[in-house]
Amino acid sequence: MLKTFKADLHIHTCLSPCGDLKMTPQKIINQVLTNNIDIIAICDHNSAENVPALVKAAKGKEVVVLPGMEICSREEIHILALFENLETVFEMQAKVYEKLHGKNNPDVFGLQVVGNEFDEVLGFNDKLLIGAVDLAIEEIVNRVHKLGGLAIASHIDRESYSVIGQLGFIPISLEFDALEISTRLSYAEARKKFPEYQNYTFIQNSDAHMLDDIGKCTTEFWIENPTFEEIRKALKNEDDRRINA
């Protein structure tokens, strides 16, 4: 039986330098439950180190946590990379770390806190997570697909760090599974603004960096169960699965 599931597939944690320090596993899950969101994806900048804590914090609760990352390409384009399990997200992270240079300066960019499911601090990530990974966008999208993941162009309506902002248009060679629009516009406005991208599936997320932002915008999935595979089908409009938009 198909039904509607509410998803916010772009949430940052205290691991992102720009993420509020209150964005801890317990607090995020509580906020998600308060907002009746069924599925979330954790997408910190160039890292997935807080994903396990979020998965554990959600155990036994009415919410599914998908492992993800928001990867910043060589061209400084942000891509949401979603994966089915921890194993594949960390395989992607290993590649990202290999190509990510520089050290974080917490005074300038902010702290990068790694925590556990009880909101205890395990340590600090010292990589320059705000930086760009030395991989071309095509290569990132292809790697994500090779690992069975989904590649979604982040906030395409924004000027900074978006594929259209950085490249001027979306090259045909990029096989995005969906395009994300920011909280600044509606689906209708997005369709009007981007008529040339009608064939893509549009989704909308909060891109939350603070607790209050969680669920500000969500995507309604018309699917059977809140699973990665069902979401993949909905983005591709397979087996009657779709996005309600």
Binding site: E76, H101, V108, I130, A132, S160
Partner: protein, 113 residues
């Protein structure tokens, strides 16, 4: 050359950092990719860019650039300006495209070896 002198010479509009105009400029860098600026700009450079979002301030602080010059008559975002005031980073605006502005900077002796 001091920032004050340069501002006059190139008719730059000061958006913030009026109190830092005595800063000495020792070079220049032009780029719109923040990761490139992080890797290659030098302390004391004027940084010429089209970018207007708040992260340019963090990069400017990190690299200790003398000032950010935004070209093409673009204006810094509100949060960018607020952050620049907090961090005491001068932001100047020019109506010229980057190519013309960099030419004038070079003519003025900035970055000539």
């Amino acid at each position: 050359m001091k920032l004050k002198e340069l501002t006059k010479k190139l008719s730059l509009i000061i958006r913030c950092g009026e109190n830092t105009l005595d800063t000495e400029i020792t070079g220049g860098y032009v780029s719109d990719l923040l990761s490139d600026v992080i890797n290659n700009a030098q302390k004391g450079d004027v940084w010429v860019t089209m970018q207007v979002h708040v992260n340019i301030v963090a990069v400017a602080v990190l690299k200790e650039v003398a000032a950010i010059i935004i070209v093409q008559g673009r204006e810094p975002n509100e949060d960018t300006l607020k952050k620049a005031k907090e961090e005491n980073i001068p932001i100047l605006v020019s109506k010229l495209p980057a190519f013309q502005l960099v030419g004038k900077l070079y003519e003025s002796g900035i970055g000539k070896t």
